[in-house]
């Protein structure tokens, strides 16, 4: 796909892109992966600690402790986002902070506080799901397809 597109470019542009690629600072993929692993793992570990806490001290089972765990992580994210810490964590950890549910919460919360100058309805309300929207949209749609196939299959077997 990308190669095909490149071939349509004039030779001058292709030549420049090769020259530029040599000068481009490469992303430190391995280092980033290590950082993502450590921070992402740490967030999940904290999640597990919170889950265990809820199981031991409240009437939650392994199944039902998931929801309060997520809510707790989101509250922590709100504070970290509001005090301007989460974006620095994100620069350090990359996917390590983006992939856990805290990253989803950060996307929602950062959009919400960013757009306060535009008002609460059109600014906060209208832009809150700007970044997280696609996740919800395609999560719901793919879940619909998967559940549909499963249901139809079970109906005929």
């Amino acid at each position: 796909m990308a190669d095909k597109k490149k071939k349509q470019l004039p030779p001058e542009a292709q030549q420049y892109q090769r020259l530029q690629a040599k000068r481009e600072i490469k992303r430190p993929v391995f280092k980033n992966c290590i950082k993502a692993f450590l921070v992402g793992g740490l967030i999940c570990l904290i999640g597990q600690l919170i889950t265990t806490f809820y199981i031991h001290f409240f009437d939650f089972t392994e199944q039902t402790a998931g929801n309060p765990t997520v809510a707790t992580l989101i509250i922590i994210t709100m504070l970290l986002t509001g005090f301007g810490i989460y974006d620095h964590l994100g620069q350090f950890a990359g996917a390590g902070t983006a992939v856990p549910v805290t990253g989803f919460a950060n996307a929602v919360i950062s959009s919400a506080i960013e757009h306060r100058p535009e008002g609460y309805i059109l600014g906060v309300g209208g832009n809150m799901l700007k970044l997280a929207g696609p996740v919800i949209v395609y999560g719901v749609f793919s879940a619909f397809i998967v559940a549909l196939i499963k249901t139809v299959l079970t109906m005929f077997t």
Binding site: G84, V101, G139, A147
Partner: protein, 116 residues
């Protein structure tokens, strides 16, 4: 043990995300959307629930679990109400993450200003 595996499995899912960022040059939105769809499909094959049993929060905290619980909600409702349940049940299980994010988003917008 569960703590160790939560760390390792959660970390590995994040590494997959990082590879999508850096090697395939996808935006965060593309990456997270893909992971959610993958979570839904894995649950379709019945593979995500064993992972949760094994890794606990290592599988429930990453965004992939979002797809999993959407399918779960839909399936639970479908068992009771048939095909129409697939549509009505989707948010049954997932609502905590989305509603908490929205509620605390609004609260945050009342409390905080971006720091720049």
């Amino acid at each position: 043990m569960i703590f160790f595996w939560a760390f390792v499995v959660g970390g590995l899912i994040c590494v997959i995300g990082q590879i999508m960022f850096d090697v395939f040059k996808l935006t965060p939105a593309h990456t997270l959307t893909t992971l959610v769809v993958v979570g839904a499909v894995l649950d379709g094959f019945g593979l995500y629930e064993p992972l949760i049993n094994f890794a606990g929060a290592g599988a429930t905290v990453p965004i992939t679990s979002f797809g999993n619980s959407l399918v779960h909600g839909a399936m639970a409702e479908a068992e009771d109400h048939g095909l129409i349940g697939v549509i009505t049940g989707i948010f049954e299980v997932t609502s905590a993450g989305i509603s908490a994010a929205i509620i605390f988003g609004v609260i945050a917008s009342l409390l905080f200003k971006p720091k720049g």
